[in-house]
Structures are given as C-alpha cells and as structure tokens.
Symmetry: C2
Subunit: 110 residues, 2 copies
DNA sequence: CTAACATACATAAGAAAATTATGTATATAT
DNA sequence: ATATATACATAATTTTCTTATGTATGTTAG
C-alpha cells in the first residue's frame, strides 16, 4: 500500500469498510476507490491487496464471484454474514485506535 | 505493544512524541506513561520497546545516558538535534494518517 | 520468610503484513 | 510501436511486532 508504514495493519479494515458501503467490489476497483477517497494519499499495492483479499475469503469474511467484463477477468467480493458482523467490530476497534492515537499525539484535542 | 495490530508502525512515533514533551525518559517509564495516557488501552511490550529504542539510537535520533537509581540501571534517552527535526515530520505524517483513516472509516466527519 | 509483583534492562524465535519485483493478458491512446 | 490502463497473481525480502525467555534488584502481602 502507500509509502508509510503507519497503514500497516489497517488494510483489512479498509477493505471491509468499502464492502460494507458498496455491497460488491473487485480488487482493482478497491485500489481506485481508495486512491480517490484519500486524494492519492493512500495507494494500495497489488502485492498487499490480493493476498489480503484471499485471506479474508479464507477466513470466511468474504465471498467471491467471478465475472468477465470487456473480455477481462474480474473477481467480485462481497461480505458474508460473518463478514458483516466482523466489519462492525473491526470498525469499532479502528475508531478506538484513532481516538487513542489522537490522545497521544495531540493531547489537547482528546 | 497492545493486542491490536493497528498500532503496528506507530511505536517509533509514539516514543519520539513523548521525548519531545519530556526531554528525557527511560524505557520502563515510557511503557508506564503510555499505559497511563491511554487508560491501559495500549501496553507497549519490552520485546517491541527496547529494539525500537536501539534502532532510533542507531539512526541518530536519540542519545542515551546511563544512570544508577536505587541500585538499578536506567538508560535515559533524549532527542538529538536530528531527532527533534524528525519528530516534527513524523508527527505531521501521523496526523495526516489519522485524518485519512477518519475519512475512510467515517466519511461524514471528514 | 518467602512468594509474588514491580522495576529495569535485554535478546531470540517466530508470525504477520507489508514492499518490491516479477509474471500473464487484454485494451486503449500516443 | 510503445506506454499506460485494466485485472489478476505470486515469490523473495524486509519491517515490525508477539511471545518467550533471561538477568537482577526492591517491595509488599500472606
């Protein structure tokens, strides 16, 4: 993903959040949406993205559905029931984390 | 450190920030201050802390000064000139990261 | 008085999650 | 004809942590 190591550990949560909003998305689409959302700040690399998607699928949080569009392969991912539950708790953890980090780096606004 | 992988990548920045505020601190003190600041949310482990301090020192961002207090060894760390500069840019990156993550997980409040 | 807990350092083995590089293939624009 | 975009993938390596272990002293509770 991006250049900074700070994002390490948050990729799965980002993917889950996007799928919560968009019902189904394919890998390349996710990279583009993130780039767009963050004004280019965060560039998810393929070497990080695809293994992450495969892991989420293996863990039963995502289902995959293959499609051919314009003669190109696409793998659409969507949240499973379990994935939807897990997304809620991952987002809660993320918000807790963000609050905690704010407290540390900017105690005045905590 | 804590149990969540979200903190991965942020330990160095946390250490630098505390040293910016406190002039000089020793390892154990850092773990306690962080625990205190975060109401126990973030527990920095020794296996993460000491290698991080050694790396910051090796990179020329920290100076170390050994002391004996109550018959126990303490290694006081403080920012070098370079460390002070680096802290400013690391904190800027951290705030950018926090804003970006907020944008992603909570678009309404971006 | 002794066992647990706190203080204070350290390192080594292993796991997790990325980066970087590479590979395949099609479509479009210069 | 070449570069760029779309779309997937994996392998080698690096970074950063977790977990476990080791040394040593001081304090507190049963």
């Amino acid at each position: 993903m991006g250049n900074q190591k700070l994002y390490k550990g948050s990729l799965q949560t980002i993917i889950l959040k996007l799928l919560e909003e968009n019902d189904k998305m394919y890998g390349y689409e996710i990279t583009q949406r993130v780039k767009e959302l963050t004004n280019g700040e965060l560039q998810i690399t393929e070497g990080a993205l695809y293994p992450a998607l495969h892991k989420l699928e293996a863990d039963g949080l995502l289902d995959v559905e293959v499609a051919m569009v314009d003669n190109r392969l696409r793998k659409y991912y969507k949240l499973t029931e379990n994935g939807t539950k897990e997304t809620v708790s991952r987002l809660a953890e993320m918000e807790e984390f963000l609050r905690t980090m704010q407290t540390i780096v900017n105690p005045k606004f905590a």
